[in-house]
């Protein structure tokens, strides 16, 4: 018998736990997604999925949420990373302080913003009114047209620090020599950024985007606390819709089918992003 690689016993417990608590449930879920409520085999759940308008809306809204949040968080995160990196003294203070929002339990962050957003008693409307701005029509999370925007704002506040952290780390990893060479050559700040910083930062950028996108695709905690998917269906995302189908309507088969379709969609997206990452880090 061929000898097992030496590392196997080292890896076995970890792989074992992952198989038990991540892979086995996944396989069980597949079985559930093909089980009808009476217990027999059925593909009806998947069939229903393609006609479910609400599921399509939830997917679309999740994609919308993901895109906007990602773009804004990345832009802000990069700007902040560059800004703080360029500061002389006190960099550590700024870095530590700016990380605070992402360290909070997401539930606490959502709760804070629920307090702030309350149209009657919240400090946001209160401050606006005190400043003379009529805030009666500003309903934030209670208004159908403003709910998505309000929820996005919370995500941006909470997770821009994450992008900031990763991009800061990436900036720190860039060696000094190219910069010194550019200085000698007399390059402008924009040229330095475009030709040195960005290319060297690319692997970090792709990684940061990938990580954040994965988390955004399954966004749940904040929306659960802030709006529960409402008002109407305005802030419904895939995770929430699956959760409600599973635990409020007790329809596990349908919920399982939905989660696999969602998983498939996010995997496709992740592979595309990873391909971009491999292409970028040709070193």
């Amino acid at each position: 018998m061929k000898k097992l690689p030496a590392g196997v016993p080292w890896i076995a417990p970890a792989v074992g736990l992952l198989l038990a608590l991540s892979i086995y449930p996944l396989i069980y879920s597949i079985k559930v997604s093909f089980t009808s409520e009476a217990g027999g085999f059925t593909a009806a759940h998947y069939a229903r999925l393609f006609q479910d308008r609400l599921f399509a809306v939830a997917c679309w809204q999740t994609a919308e949420y993901l895109t906007v949040a990602l773009v804004v968080e990345f832009g802000l995160g990069l700007s902040l990373a560059l800004l703080v990196d360029s500061l002389g003294r006190g960099r550590g203070v700024f870095r530590a302080g700016l990380l605070a929002p992402m360290l909070l339990p997401p539930v606490v962050a959502a709760v804070i913003w629920r307090l702030i957003y309350n149209p009657q008693f919240g400090v946001l409307n209160g401050t606006l009114r005190a400043a003379g701005i009529p805030a009666q029509r500003l309903t934030w999370t209670s208004g159908e047209s403003s709910a998505m925007f309000s929820v996005l704002l919370v995500d941006i506040w909470e997770w821009t620090p994450f992008l900031f952290l990763l991009l800061s780390a990436g900036l720190q990893a860039i060696p000094q020599e190219p910069y010194e060479a550019a200085k000698i050559d007399g390059a402008s700040q924009w040229q330095v950024f475009r030709d040195i910083t960005l290319p060297l930062l690319k692997p970090t950028i792709v990684l940061a985007l990938l990580l954040r996108a994965m988390d955004l695709a399954r966004i749940f905690d904040q929306i659960f606390i802030l709006t529960q998917g409402g008002p109407g269906f305005a802030t419904e995302t895939v995770s929430l819709y699956i959760y409600r189908t599973a635990f409020r309507f007790f329809n596990f088969g349908y919920a399982a089918a939905m989660s696999f379709v969602a998983l498939a969609l996010t995997t496709i997206f992740a592979r595309a992003l990873l391909r971009g990452m491999r292409a970028g880090s040709a070193r």
Binding site: P231, F247, R248, F250
Partner: protein
Amino acid sequence: MRIGLQDAILPYVALCFLTGCGGSPPSLVVAVNAGVEGDALKAAAREFGSAQSLDVEIVDLPYANLFEKELLDLTSRTGAYDVIMIDDPWFPRLAQNDALAPFASQAPDPDFLQSCLDVCRLNGTYYALPYVGNSQLFFYRQDLFGKYGLPAPATWSGVLAAAKKIGAGEKMYGYVMRGAPGNPVVADFLPLFWAFGAEMFSAGGAPAMDSQQGIDALRFMLELGKHSPPGYAGFNADEVSAHLLQSTAAMSINWPAWIAAMDDPAKSKVAGKIEFAPMPSEKRKGVAGLGTWLLAVPAASKHRDRAFQFLYWATSADPMKRAALHGNPPTRRSVFLDPGLRAKFRALPAQLQSLESARPRPRTPRWNEIENAFGIYLSQANAGTLAPDEAMRRAAKDIAGIAAR
């Protein structure tokens, strides 16, 4: 900081130790709604615990979570809860598959109001007893009605006219309602819906909300919405009550749980000015929605006898009277007619009248899903995203799909 492998294991070992010998499990676990309706049961549970020297744990959860947790516990038979609080529309779903323990005595005390007892039965067997006698009341500012010479609101048309007049004359909104999707908007809409002669389901069981009466009712709701504070399509009970308490709105449907706050000078700017009336009529006599909270014992409970003991005690006349003194709406006629209580709570006669004739929401195990779907379209109509007839049509279509499964 020296952290080695040992230090990584140590917390885990400690964890196992602590969870192992971390106190004995409680003798009774009561799942309660984390809101005003649950307060009475919490107090009763604590009283029972100290009187019987039992360790009673109270798990209080928000409305939606309570349903989920109870459903999960009942269907998986985990036995985590010994006594559970059930909102009457949940009962058909939760009582399925013998998940609840039937009562030993199937002849409940006739002192309980019949309308409350009716929702405690499944296929003729009693699985619960009513504890919080909730049925909707119409709250309106008597002082303002008097000021503008308006008669007490007897019809919805009258309500709309009064809302216009008061809204124009005072710096406030004539009406306020719950528009948040799901349970809030559906509960507030049904009395109006019924008063216009509409029904959710026809005699044959098919969805009937897209009837002309249903569409008219929704159109009327949007009319009322024009005289309601902006953003009402997302309001829940705390926003509605806040508007009444702060005197920024003059009328609303509401639950008796809020009566105490209305008359409390510490919370209310309108103490004593609000009158509580039965539901207005329109094409049909006005009828309130029933929202009674029931108490039941899960079949998988590990402390059934003790649970039933607590249940019978809490719903008996004296403890219920004590709960009523703290504002809990009772379910026993004798408590409603108690002179001491009637002197203290001026709305008690109106509550009794409303409760006796109240109408439960459609009794179906799929009510949760149906309410959810109906609620989404109602909320969208109120937010202006959908036209009323389109909203009702889509609702009927979705609900037909849900019922068919």
